[in-house]
Symmetry: C2
Subunit: 236 residues, 2 copies
Amino acid sequence: MQKQQTNLSAETDQQSRPGAPRLILASSSPARKKLLEDAGLTFSVMVSDVDEEAALAQAQEEAYAAGLGQITPAQTAQLLAKAKARAVAALPEASGALVLGCDSVFELDGQPYGKPGSADKALERITAMSGRSGQLHTGHWLVDTRPGSVQAAEASSLRTASVHFDQFSPQEAAAYVATGEPLWVAGSFTLDGFGAAFIKGIEGEYHTVVGLSVHALRGMLAELGLSITDLWKTSH
Amino acid sequence: MQKQQTNLSAETDQQSRPGAPRLILASSSPARKKLLEDAGLTFSVMVSDVDEEAALAQAQEEAYAAGLGQITPAQTAQLLAKAKARAVAALPEASGALVLGCDSVFELDGQPYGKPGSADKALERITAMSGRSGQLHTGHWLVDTRPGSVQAAEASSLRTASVHFDQFSPQEAAAYVATGEPLWVAGSFTLDGFGAAFIKGIEGEYHTVVGLSVHALRGMLAELGLSITDLWKTSH
């Protein structure tokens, strides 16, 4: 897992509704940004340094101390979503906003798979996935820093979807890796890109597989007394 | 069902691989176009006049004559995909290309639902769908007009996905209709837009629900002796 760069950027091309709360996506993933845009939401992107390895190591230590054993891939997704959201929520620039953190972990045979990072590793993993099924876990953590909101009001949601891969030939696997697309995504595959050709189907939510469930966001907003329709941009 | 306008347009912003077959999408749907673009395919869009009502009436007559009874929503999707693909394949401009026709029909309680076309009708249907599940049928028909290909080589694929809707409030339903988005889509809902917030999950393919299964296209191309990777653009 790699450290994320500090990166502050504000979207200005979207028109928000008057009086609508401000939403910040605490993730640098282009797929999550695109997904929120497609779903018609007004938001900005703000990413903060999170030492993911340190966060997980501390959580694992606490889990062992509590007699909970090894942290699962699903718990890992949720823990990192929380770490990302809280890191951005602590920034002065995020004051008064809703901050959404997300993290996705792919699970095959009980093992977690993150971004492969190299072509060799991606090819190896894709070959192992051919004709099989895995789970995509996406953790969501929403921090409410609006004035007047309950101190540290937070909501969270963990979503899991099963992904069924078709069998693919060595030529197809090599061509897919050559696109570069699978190298930097959890589980070495994309549902929203070239990889679409190789997915037989899913059980669960498309958006969970891509990395951010809009349905989960609607539920978390409702827990905080908000409607997702208030965050819709006025023109699509 | 409405007649479609004749509309010829060629995409020029995508780079195709040398020697790759030319793919034409015989559909005016922006969602299908976006989906193929996201999946990294090189293609152009060409739409021809199809009298959908006449095509269905004739098919229904033949079905009755053959003792098959009422045409199902799934059969309707497949018949219209065929009609669209063949109409474009017959145009001189499509000569030498692969022509893909698609059509989607939403089924709830055994009844087919097309585009609502008005806000009142959309609201009525959305209210009826709250908390329930329906099926989205997408028919695919691929016509191969390349020189040297078998006379009238064709491949087809029918895909069905179940869609589970969350319950939504009258306020949410009204806000969704006010976006205008559900008025012109099969079944009055979008998975790739504002509607994402209200879908609990699907069983099947995301792409089937949006209106074009890239996985089905890969299978049809394989039937014609082609690999989908040959249609991938060289840069994403």
